[in-house]
């Protein structure tokens, strides 16, 4: 399977290790992974702020770079959701483009969804030891039905103990530009999430979207919690959580 990795702007700039973790996992599942080097951003920030024009331009850029792959895999529910759910909607008035975007959308997957349901990864490379709790990012959950998949993969790691937090599916308050424009509200929502994390008394909080993780980590550290690790599920599954 030829997989195009859409690494996402946040992973590219802030935590590249997640991208390498994704590659390691995909290759362990027998995929041939390429990284089209011109890729940048899926266009979500502008799209959610009401800028359809830029979103369309970035969608057309995306499809030019990725259309030839068997699959597109994304270590983020919100970016994968943007591609699968919203790109087709952007071109609903153009039948030819709608067809192309629908087709590529159906071949675009959030990482854990792909590993479980398409690549059927049988053996997890990582050897994470300890307790963790899982945060369900909104877009992955509600647009792409990502809930069981990360848990199924984590369940295959014998030394991992997952403790569910209260309200794991409640929004952490990131919401892209919302986190800056409505900072007070966003911080309160992040704080609620951090409380639920802390109440699980686990070593780490893990999730599938870096935006959420930065938000949660930012609030944990400001609250004085420097010990709870904040990890992307790809880092845990790949074993790259051990690297600096």
């Amino acid at each position: 399977m030829r997989v195009g990795l859409f690494v996402t702007c946040l992973v590219d700039t802030i935590r590249p290790r997640i991208g390498f973790a994704a590659i390691k996992l995909l290759e362990a599942a027998g995929c041939e992974v390429e990284f089209p080097v011109q890729q940048t951003c899926c266009g979500q920030p502008g799209y959610n702020s009401g800028d359809q024009k830029s979103a369309k331009a970035l969608a057309l850029k995306f499809i030019a770079e990725f259309e030839t792959f068997d699959y597109v895999v994304v270590p983020s529910g919100s970016c994968a959701g943007m591609i699968r759910v919203h790109y087709p909607d952007l071109f609903r008035d153009d039948p030819a483009l709608l067809e192309r975007f629908t087709a590529i959308g159906q071949r675009t997957y959030e990482l854990t969804d792909f590993l479980v349901n398409v690549a059927k990864l049988a053996k997890i490379p990582g050897n994470f030891q300890g307790t963790l709790t899982y945060h369900d990012s909104c877009s992955g959950l509600r647009e792409l039905d990502v809930y069981k998949q990360p848990r199924a993969l984590l369940a295959m790691m014998p030394e991992v103990s997952v403790h569910e937090m209260v309200e794991s599916t409640t929004c952490c308050g990131f919401g892209g530009t919302f986190s800056v424009k409505y900072g007070e509200l966003s911080t309160r929502m992040a704080d609620n999430k951090c409380q639920h994390v802390t109440e699980t008394h686990t070593d780490s909080i893990v999730g599938g979207d870096l935006g959420c993780l930065l938000n949660i980590e930012g609030r944990l550290r400001r609250n004085g919690d420097h010990s709870t690790r904040v990890l992307h599920v790809a880092e845990v599954l790949s074993g790259l959580d051990k690297e600096e």
């Binding site: 700039t13 991208g19 959610n48 919302f178 509200l185 704080d191």
Partner: protein, 468 residues
């Protein structure tokens, strides 16, 4: 009701700091979110039923004229008088005229959010009609001179201590915080109101076109009293509330009570058709139904039409993490939460409520529970598009978004800029690897640190062969 949505941001600060409100909101979450979850499984196939409910609403909205005329014809044939009102002021004038026509001096009112839109109570007071709210929550608000903060549980923001204080002051009875006693006290105070009122005013949860009926759901019994005892009954509602048949309204009711309050059915469902005639022992001698537009017709045939499916259950706000943290008053008008964030700008103008479509992470929790499948996050995004198209965004935000989009469309410059940017941020974060301030993004850094980037981008590491 006056629209103060422009004060949203300031109100958010106040509400987040209001400890009593925060406690009240967590009670709401327990009762309504937990409540819905406990009974929604009683519906055999929830998704099929939601689809059917949405189809019923669309059937009407796609032919609203036909269905309204059929309703009017049926209702009139049974002796009701149907009025049409373009604005809230028109409603007030019609009710005042009806009151004058029948020599009405006192009116008993059961809950009506549409009447809040109009500011009906104040308008009637001005023409000398005394209006008594009889829904316990609305009665409490009337005593406190406050507006409702939720469309189903209007006084959710108050605790029993505050209500005890209010009753002690207004009823001149010994103060009690026992909830059953407070309810009994309200019952005894309000009972004469029902008996003696000249006019009953209600809303209508639905209008049934088939039979020309007004349908009201209540739990307290005040809805029944207000529409049975006084000699005049006035029902006020929006033009979008019409539903084709008794079977259709039953499908909607199955979802309404479970979505709203976690009840399999509301205690009373009253289906009122026409005025008292020879076959009746009780009921109003005069039955008036007022259909209000107030901007609803402007949504028809537009990309926002789906918002008119709304059956006012409140599930969206109950499940909204933003509402759960700030309550209803911050939204500044009659309708709060996700549905209010869409209706308020649509009925009152985007300029009056510029924050509402933006104060959301688009998490989608609302859309999951909406019984009639309104795509609420999509509608919020469409309102944001309208703001962008009308130049209503701040120049800073517009510049930032355009700059980012431009960069993203120019990969080489993007690569270079991000390389520099992440190195800078890394430097600024120092040994701690945390940034405590983010210039230009105080909304983030006032409450949160920012973990520094790794310092090298994925792109450059990949090109160096790091993945092999």
């Amino acid at each position: 009701m006056q629209n103060t949505s422009i004060n949203f941001k300031r109100q958010v600060t106040i509400k987040l700091a209001d400890v009593r409100l925060q406690n009240a909101l967590s009670r709401l979450q327990t009762r309504f979110v937990g409540g819905r979850s406990a009974v929604i499984g009683e519906i055999n196939d929830l998704q099929e039923t939601r689809t059917a409910a949405a189809a019923i609403r669309d059937l009407v909205l796609n032919d609203l004229e036909h269905w309204l005329l059929h309703f009017e014809q049926q209702a009139t044939a049974r002796g009701a008088v149907v009025h049409w009102a373009e604005t809230g002021d028109d409603v007030n004038r019609i009710v005042a005229d009806i009151a004058a026509q029948y020599g009405v001096r006192t009116a008993a009112k059961s809950k009506s959010m549409v009447s809040e839109e109009c500011g009906l109570n104040d308008a009637l007071e001005q023409v000398g009609v005394k209006v008594m709210e009889t829904d316990l929550g609305e009665y409490i608000l009337q005593l406190a001179h406050e507006a409702p903060s939720h469309i189903v549980a209007p006084v959710v923001h108050k605790n029993k201590e505050e209500i005890a204080d209010l009753f002690a002051e207004k009823h001149r009875k010994p103060r009690t915080t026992d909830i059953a006693e407070l309810c009994r006290e309200a019952r005894e105070i309000l009972r004469p109101t029902f008996i003696n009122a000249d006019m009953g005013i209600s809303g209508a949860n639905f209008l049934v076109a088939e039979t020309g009926s007004v349908l009201i759901v209540t739990n307290e019994g005040n809805g029944r009293l207000v529409t049975t005892l006084p000699r005049v009954h006035v029902a006020i509602t929006g033009i979008e509330k019409v539903v084709p048949t008794l079977e259709d309204v039953t499908t909607l009711l199955r979802l309404l009570s479970r979505s709203a309050t976690g009840q399999s059915i509301t205690n009373y469902v009253s289906v009122l058709t026409g005025k008292k005639d020879h076959a009746d022992h009780d009921g109003p001698e005069h039955f008036h139904i007022i259909l209000l537009d107030n901007g609803r017709s402007s949504l028809l045939g537009s990309e926002m039409q789906e918002m008119l499916r709304c059956i006012r259950c409140g599930a969206c706000m109950n499940h909204c993490p933003v509402y759960q943290n700030i309550g209803g008053h911050a939204y500044g008008w009659v309708y709060p939460g996700p549905m209010g964030s869409i209706l308020t700008p649509l009925l009152g103008g985007l300029e009056a409520a510029p924050d509402l479509p933006n104060a959301s992470t688009l998490c989608g929790a609302c859309a999951v529970v909406c019984p009639v499948k309104i795509p609420l996050p999509d509608l919020l995004r469409k309102l944001r598009q309208r703001q962008m198209d009308r130049g209503m965004k701040s120049w800073q935000e517009t510049l930032m978004l355009k700059a980012w989009a431009w960069l993203a469309l120019h990969p080489m410059i993007y690569a270079l800029t991000t390389k520099i940017g992440v190195r800078l941020m890394c430097l600024m974060g120092g040994k701690e690897k945390l940034l405590h301030t983010l210039p230009g993004a105080r909304g983030w850094s006032d409450g949160r640190d920012f973990p520094v980037p790794a310092g090298l981008t994925f792109r450059e590491l990949y090109q160096q062969g790091k993945h092999q």
